[in-house]
Amino acid sequence: MNAIAEKNSILRCEDIEVSYGAFKAVSNVSYDFKPGLLYGLIGPNGAGKTTLMNALSGRAKLSKGRVFLNDQEITGKSPHARTWAGLGRSFQITQIFAEMTVFENLRLAAQAHRFRLQPFWRPVGKFKEIANDAERVLSEIGLEGFGHVNAGSLSHGDQRALEIGLALLSEPKVLLLDEPLAGVGHDVVETAVELIRKVSQGRTVLLIEHNMDVVMEISDEIIVMLAGEVLASGEAETIKRDPRVRTAYLGEEE
């Protein structure tokens, strides 16, 4: 790997492998993610997309390989340490604090980002800076006016937006989004895609998504996974024409 390539990568994985017993969920994956680009990660179910995301965010243990964020090695670091280093993510199954209000959800994320040791000598309401952060993101994700609503009673689409908001508050340089459009109603897909476009401004995004039209449209680069390995990567047009991808997806003969 030459010096220029290293300078230009924000997130890099080297030959990573995640295995459960004899089963290799992810193997031989090496990739350089460049700053500011939006990567679409596609592949059939069971291809290892979410496991790769788990490996990057620290939820899955690597059996082999290394991960670097901004040229700092983060292999083996816990998820919260990676968040601190600038890696945010959303989950396939919505993970929010369901019985708290939307504002409280966001304030918690702001607080987690601001304080390394959580203060215990003042009520949380007295820390104006975290309330301001929360308010800012509340409008960024288009949930103004929903601050006092219980997060669990939001519509599914709004919960997905809240999840992205929670990730945004850690001011991530790299954002991993695991199927942010899954289960989102047709009428609001446009809004959701708009939000993804907006949050990808100035940061690297890795997006797992099954809606091919959306992925092809908004990604700068597409990565195709199959059986735990990266099958192909490149611009949308190249990928669409790639015979290996066509075989994998459509079962066409090469």
């Binding site: 459960y20 788990n54 939820r59 899955a60 243990k61």
Partner: protein, 285 residues
Amino acid sequence: MSTIVIGLSMGMLLFLLAAGLTLIFGMLRVINFAHGSLYMLGAYLAFQMVSVTGSFWAGLVAAPIIAAIIGALMERIALRPVYDRDHVYQLLLTFGFILVLDEAVRIIWGLEYKQMYPPELFAGAIEMFGSSVPSYRLFIIGFGAAVSAALFFMLDRSRYGMIIRAASGDPEMVRTLGINVSLVRTGVFSFGAGLAALGGAVAGPLFPIELGMGFNIIIDSFIVVIIGGLGNIRGAVMAALLIGMTRALGYSYAPSWVDFLTFILLIGTLILRPEGLFSRKGRTA
């Protein structure tokens, strides 16, 4: 020689308790804190039957049946309403059972120690390899082995075993197949309670029957169940024999360290391999 016999008989006794605990956990995801109390209840019930009928065997049969009925009631009345809550509530409920069962025993039988005698058939001792071994201990080993063989046969071969295994894996699926899962749960809990009481009845002639006997053995049973792997009944056999032998050896060579050893085994297992020493599955993320 007698150390081995004591170890094996302890192991078999522990297995009777651990089998119930681990079956209940596998099926209901409940760690039954009150299992020791059911064991104690079994001993008292057997004692009562023996003093009424004069027959040890009557006690051995009646105690588990009565305890199984009590277990079924416990599951129906108390546990069923809280299945959809956090598992912690179920644990707390079984903790409440301890208080009630212990009190019930205190009210019925009082505080003084009770003594039970082995049946005449196994009252003596047998010479084995130059040492004298109480034949009742040998009976326990044989009885325990028979019960575990029956248990394995039932779980592996019978329709009930298949339902139980399927229902502990995926209750929703089994329910859609038309099986009454809630009945299976009651059955398993009741069966586990019966096994605990059977253990108590068998242990009756070995130890003084007293209120504290439940707690003394429950810790060991937890150790067995956890070392064997929660819900893993084969692991429980191995672990029960391991703990039984450890105890027996400990008593003869370093009596004051026995409790330490077993606790440290438990703590070590919980920390290093919470899925159990005898579990084949690797730890999943």
